[in-house]
């Protein structure tokens, strides 16, 4: 037995030198995917990853790639852990003929770690609806694209909706609003915006942390029962969301007074809590669940050919979000190709593509995303491109859109972005770009 062990150890050492360099074909655009299909956040990570992958497959199957350049992609499992995410990033960043086009880690923690690394590697970071809110400032964060909305947008829109339900902003005065949040950079992000709002509108704001992964929140909800806030905002992810809803039901807190962020507003968040989730509200990152024009294409070109990653999550909220994420990324590549030619783009060229991306209503319709996304336009100063969101409510069976688009209040958010971006710039000794001189 011992001899065998020795031999095996030697063998294992030999095997260390096994994984060889991959052969790369020339006319391919490599796009990496950091996913988490295992761990406590998998219920939410899987549909998103499926949407991301299926849109790329659709482009390959229907159009033969982007302008004839085939997309190749590779997934790497991060398990939502920052150190694993960094390892995956290092593994995938140099693959393909031109390296990784862009990264979308779907984790605020990994985004924070990669924000420091991408400028050196010249790879853009597409963090749709998550990540550093101040990275909207493209002058300080040239490589980050916090597309569609930031947590500050979300916080602001949530308060606007509460004001509307109450019957005006003046009614907010003296009301109590609590935030139940995932105790990580992700959950802490909205606090700055909510505190700013609390000052303006005069409501009592209280932040209640829940430790990762969030399956234990009895004491937090007991505190809420005692404190009796008028509204509870929920900033959870993965199993934490359904646990929160169950606990809210257990202490008898009305579910229609609980408002989740767009990462707490998908099917895996409400279905585990069953009937208890009826009435629960959540923000929409513009889009909701359901089938649109692009889904018909997907059914025809991907699902019917058996190439879809999606199963029962097809057309669910997070699946649709994955589609949009890939659409914005590939459209940025397409924009870059207009300038640099129809060949695989480097990260630097894709960054230019992002910055000059202009998704008009007509283009969105052409792509089959009409009804899912409002026009979006990036610029050197603005790396968010849009700041509108809607509200949806779970009626026990499906998500129903219950509001029109709200626009986040720039008077409150713009100074926050400016101040925090400036702080980051001084800390990291970055000189902000002069956007008036950019082409």
């Amino acid at each position: 037995m011992r001899k065998l062990t020795l031999a095996l150890t030697a063998l294992a050492l030999g095997a260390t030198a096994m994984t060889g360099p991959a052969t790369a074909q020339t006319n391919e655009q490599f796009i990496p995917a950091l996913v988490y299909r295992t761990g406590p956040y998998a219920p939410n990570g899987i549909p998103f990853a499926n949407g991301v992958a299926d849109y790329w497959t659709l482009l390959n199957e229907r159009d033969g790639g982007i302008n004839g350049v085939k997309i190749v992609f590779e997934e790497c499992e991060t398990g939502y852990a920052t150190d694993k995410g960094v390892e995956c990033y290092e593994r995938l960043k140099g693959k393909g003929p031109t390296g990784a086009a862009y990264f979308s880690p779907l984790s605020t923690g990994i985004t924070f770690a990669l924000t420091d690394k991408v400028p050196g590697d010249k790879i853009p970071l597409l963090t749709m609806g998550y990540g550093r809110s101040e990275s909207r400032n493209g002058a300080v964060f040239p490589w980050n694209f916090i597309a569609v909305g930031s947590y500050w947008t979300a916080a602001d829109v949530a308060i606007q909706h509460i004001a509307k339900e109450l019957g005006g902003f003046d009614k907010l005065k003296g009301k109590k609003i609590s935030l139940v949040y995932h105790d990580s950079p992700y959950g802490k992000e909205p606090i700055a915006a909510l505190e700013a709002r609390a000052k303006v509108n005069g409501f009592d704001f209280k932040a209640i942390p829940v430790t990762h992964p969030g399956v234990e929140q009895k004491s937090q909800w007991l505190a809420i029962r005692q404190d009796r806030p008028d509204y509870v905002l929920l900033w959870g992810w993965g199993v934490m969301n359904s646990t929160s809803i169950k606990e809210a039901a257990a202490v008898g807190f009305p579910r229609d007074k609980v408002i989740g962020v767009w990462w707490s507003g998908a099917e895996p968040d409400v279905t585990p809590a069953g009937d208890q989730s009826t009435g629960y509200k959540a923000l929409m990152l513009q889009h909701g669940p359901g089938k649109f024009a692009v889904h018909a294409d997907l059914e025809k070109n991907v699902v019917s050919k058996g190439k879809a990653a999606a199963k029962e999550d097809f057309a669910q909220v997070l699946y649709n979000r994955g589609l949009i994420n890939s659409m914005i990324g590939t459209e940025a590549i397409r924009t870059a190709m207009k300038k640099y030619g129809n060949k695989p783009m480097t990260g630097e060229q894709v960054r230019w593509g992002f910055e000059n991306l202009n998704l008009t209503a007509a283009r969105i319709k052409e792509l089959g995303f009409e009804g899912m996304l409002q026009p979006l336009r990036f610029s050197c100063e603005d790396h968010q491109g849009a700041d509108v969101a809607r509200m949806q409510q779970w009626d026990g069976k499906a998500w129903k859109t219950i509001s029109d688009y709200y626009k986040a209040d720039e008077k409150i958010l713009a100074p926050l972005v400016k101040e925090n971006a400036a702080k980051y710039a001084t800390e990291k000794k970055i000189t902000a770009r002069d956007c008036s001189k950019e082409s």
Binding site: M1, R2, T5, L6, T9, A12, A15, T16, A17, M18, T19, G20, P21, A22, V35, R37, T38, I46, E74, E75, C76, E77, G79, A81, T82, D83, V86, E87, E90, R91, K93, G94, T108, G109, F112, A113, T115, D116, K117, G120, R132, D183, S184, P185, K188, E189, I191, A192, P209, H212, N420, Y424, E427, K428, K429
Partner: protein, 373 residues
């Protein structure tokens, strides 16, 4: 045949007492050091596979070196002094956050005693951070004078949870960052900014080489013998005149110091930006497993254990893709868990004393070769 000390006569005390008394071991050590310090940078400079890629350095070698250093730290405490600790993550975190505070300037608003220290250079920051970790290590080591074994493990577990909480809640440590995530300052060593992967690798290597040498020397000297005597039977050690207070607390201090350095390197050199989750209880267990798998009471074992626990899953993760087997990442990551777990169980059944013992057995066999028994 090749590995035999026959004919190597020692003619001085110095020769008899050196770290590696067998010539072949010395040669092997120099070869390894030469490979690490000269070979890998050369291979990297000429882009020779596998060391030519940034991935090898950034994602495998750097974390391997840093976690080896942490494992050496824990091995001193658990392997040599016999004090079971589950607080490695906390001590690493203290090293990381203190170094961060020293590097960005400390300001303690105590009213009248307003204490301000300007931002310190990188090397003093890391060492002072590690010193903080040592101080806290001594504090949490005090219970070890009264409690032993699993009970002590629970006491160190308290350190883990306490510091997890501190670094999440006390905003002072994160310089009042709104998201609670901090980002490392430039790695400026005497005017030279360490940035390229190979520079980062060499930086870690220098730290690891120095501390490994230091640890190796410590454990075979007076203090190391005190630790081992305490580990083997504390009553007997006390009767022989070893002061348990001194022996145990020195083990806690030195071990926490080394783990503090490892924590600072992990945060500054590997992650770049981090949150308290980077030093959670999982990290403590990971390092404890490294020490157990590698071999309790062995410096070499710390390296072997770190390689096994860190590198093996990463390699296994890539095998199906490299071979072109089309299975999903989900299945792969579950398979990695299963295989790694099974290997750990199997290894501990076959050789409970870890890789270090396996290494020794291998050496014994080589000595008797070609007729091993």
């Amino acid at each position: 045949m090749f590995y035999r000390e026959t004919g190597q006569f020692k003619s001085s005390y110095a020769a008899d007492m050196q770290i590696f008394p067998i010539r072949q071991d010395r040669i092997a050590l120099w070869v390894v050091l030469a490979l690490a310090f000269i070979g890998i940078p050369l291979l990297n400079a000429f882009h020779i596979w596998p060391f030519g890629s940034e991935y090898m350095l950034r994602a495998i070698l750097i974390p391997f070196l840093i976690l080896s250093l942490a494992a050496i730290g824990l091995n001193i405490l658990t392997g040599y002094c016999g004090q079971l600790s589950l607080g490695s993550g906390a001590f690493m975190a203290i090293g990381a956050y203190s170094a961060y505070k020293f590097a960005t300037g400390v300001h303690l608003p105590f009213g009248l005693f307003d204490l301000s220290i300007p931002p310190l250079p990188m090397l003093p920051s890391i060492l002072l951070g590690a010193l903080m970790s040592a101080v806290v290590g001594i504090l949490f080591g005090i219970p070890s004078l009264r409690i032993k074994g699993l009970y002590l493990a629970v006491a160190t577990l308290a350190a883990q949870f306490f510091f997890d909480w501190v670094f999440i809640r006390v905003k002072w440590f994160t310089n009042y960052n709104s998201s609670g995530s901090v980002s490392a300052p430039d790695l400026n060593f005497f005017g030279f900014v360490v940035n390229a992967p190979i520079e980062r690798y060499l930086l870690c290597l220098v730290f690891v080489a120095i501390f490994a040498l230091l640890a190796k020397n410590l454990v075979r000297g007076n203090i190391g013998r005190q630790w081992m005597a305490t580990r083997d039977m504390d009553i007997a050690a006390e009767l022989m005149g070893i002061r348990p207070l001194y022996a145990k607390l020195s083990a806690f201090a030195i071990s926490s110091f080394i783990m503090g350095v490892a924590g600072a390197l992990w945060a500054f050199v590997y992650l770049g930006a981090w949150e308290p989750l980077a030093f959670s209880i999982d990290r403590s267990f990971q390092i404890l497993f490294m020490v157990i798998i590698g071999g309790l009471g062995s410096i070499l074992g710390s390296f072997l254990g770190a390689a096994f626990i860190l590198v093996l899953p990463i390699l296994l993760d890539q095998v199906p893709h490299a071979l072109g087997v089309p299975i999903s990442v989900e299945t792969v990551s579950l398979l990695v868990f299963i295989i790694t777990g099974a290997l750990i169980c199997w290894l501990l059944i076959v050789e409970p004393r870890g890789f270090a013992r396996l290494w020794l057995t291998g050496k014994e066999k080589l000595r008797l070769w070609p007729y091993p028994y």
